[in-house]
Point group: C2
Chain length 138, copies 2
């Protein structure tokens, strides 16, 4: 079996928060939306249905943990959860906190407009909040 390694595009676009039991946890470098991506550490998987049953279940639980915490911590109007992968085939699950005053509301965030990278202080703050809330070691 091939060894898992994070897709170069995800590595380039995101900050690494750390690992949950199954998934690498990434923060997309777009300060306009709290946006966390879970990437199961399984090589060669493109679709959720390709995961083994136990991995599927763990991904769902990690997704619910992540989404519920983010909605609480960032006071979102709505959570968007999506596995798309049209551009990056490695299975990855988006969790995006949406608000009525965000740039893309109520449309989708994907493809809407160029990311606005985090200033250092806000990045440090969000990474700390997420690591604490998701119990991820730095």
């Amino acid at each position: 079996m091939d060894k898992f390694s994070l897709h170069a595009q995800l590595a380039s676009d995101c900050h690494l928060l750390g690992d949950l039991g199954l998934s690498q946890v990434l923060l997309l470098d777009d300060s306009r939306y709290p946006w966390v991506i879970l990437v199961p550490r399984r090589a060669g998987v493109r679709e959720i249905f390709e995961l083994a049953a136990g991995d599927r279940h763990n991904l769902l639980e990690e997704s619910c943990l992540t989404g519920e915490f983010m909605m609480h911590a960032f006071a979102g109007e709505k959570l968007n959860v999506a596995a798309l992968g049209n551009l990056v085939p490695q299975l990855h699950l988006h969790h995006v906190i949406r608000n009525k005053d965000d740039p893309a509301w109520p449309g989708p965030v994907w493809g809407h407009s160029a990311a606005v990278p985090y200033p250092r202080q806000l990045l440090d703050e969000r990474m700390r909040i997420l690591r604490d809330g998701l119990s991820i070691a730095a």
Copy 2:
């Protein structure tokens, strides 16, 4: 507890295929994409994490069944799975078969362009394929 009823916008935009154990199964009336929506029959739920643990698990299994069958039956390049709900708050999970020659590729289908309703013959064919493949009684 309130009784489940399908949101009027979903009822208006979709054809009802029938029921799985947890979810109502809808075919979006856009002939450009094989596009199935699962709606858990639970009143007042907006987010996946709000479902009870057993319901979450069943939704995941119904989603994997649906997505895997659709990728096989419609020879997709990529499956897009998403719970968005910015416009329709009732929890619903999209399953969209994407291909490199579809109108929105590689961008998101949501908000891209107006739906193209099914002609009757293609609608009948797709509904039959989906009901057979997902073992849904008509």
